[in-house]
Symmetry: C2
Subunit: 158 residues, 2 copies
């Protein structure tokens, strides 16, 4: 390794306040999207930590609540979760008495997924907390019109 032969006088890359030039690295749309998404996700995590519920688990509960009796593969596929990884996830929910895996009569290979009574109450609580977070997020955006505007712009990126 060679020694540092830089001149000690402050060039343009050593700014007066000693802070880094970050504009090039952080100006892209992808980067800004990621930052905002991580920020919103972090608030989600903070709220749902109390319920020991992770984002994927919450999505699964909501989807089963709206679509009782579906197969594991169907629920997993909609959420972009691999069959293999879905097994562990749903077993965890079953151990917590939130979800039931009921062997299907029509297709003996398949399990029909249902929420337990306990799971329904738990989900209602979780959804209430989620709704409160959503409301706060809309408020930060500047109201329902701003929310619609954001979603419209985001949809153009799909």
């Amino acid at each position: 390794m060679r020694q540092n032969s830089e001149p000690s006088a402050a060039p343009s890359d050593l700014r007066a306040d000693n802070r880094l030039q970050t504009e090039t690295a952080t100006g892209a749309i992808g980067y800004r999207l990621r930052r905002a998404q991580l920020n919103v996700f972090q608030k989600f995590l903070a709220i749902f930590d109390a319920l020991k519920l992770r984002p994927a688990e919450y999505s699964v509960l909501v989807l089963i609540g709206d679509n009782p009796g579906r197969k594991q593969t169907e629920i997993a596929e909609v959420l972009g979760i691999k069959r293999a990884n879905f097994v562990t996830l749903v077993h965890g929910l079953e151990e917590r008495n939130l979800v039931e895996r009921i062997p299907s009569a029509q297709d003996k290979r398949a399990n029909a997924l249902h929420l337990t009574e306990n799971g329904k109450a738990f989900l209602a609580d979780a959804q209430a907390r989620h709704a409160a977070l959503e409301e706060e997020t809309v408020a930060r955006l500047g109201g329902p019109a701003a929310r619609a505007q954001l979603l419209s712009l985001l949809d153009r990126l799909l």
Copy 2:
């Protein structure tokens, strides 16, 4: 809560087309943000796969290019990368002859990071590809005004 204005023939869990009800699970701002972000990121990955460059590595190169001579810790901190994980990342860039770790004369504990000549050329190529992707993304959004609108909305979520 508003009434259901849908032309309701089938119950939500047994729809005629056998598709799942996904609106509850996928309507939230966080979810939509995540989808859009993943989509943009995927295009980024597709382009940068050819350069065998991962997002974090690209950010590091850009940041070193704009701020030559900085310590590993400084670069890592700005990007939210842990010191420990940054070591492997920067060693990989050094092995590819893109970055030099030059022992600092002032502080013998520290390494000053610089791009090699090869690294500068490589970064210029990567940035050209990135700029093309950014241009395409802005076009999909609907032009510079839409881009500004999106960034303004995203900033409200920080």
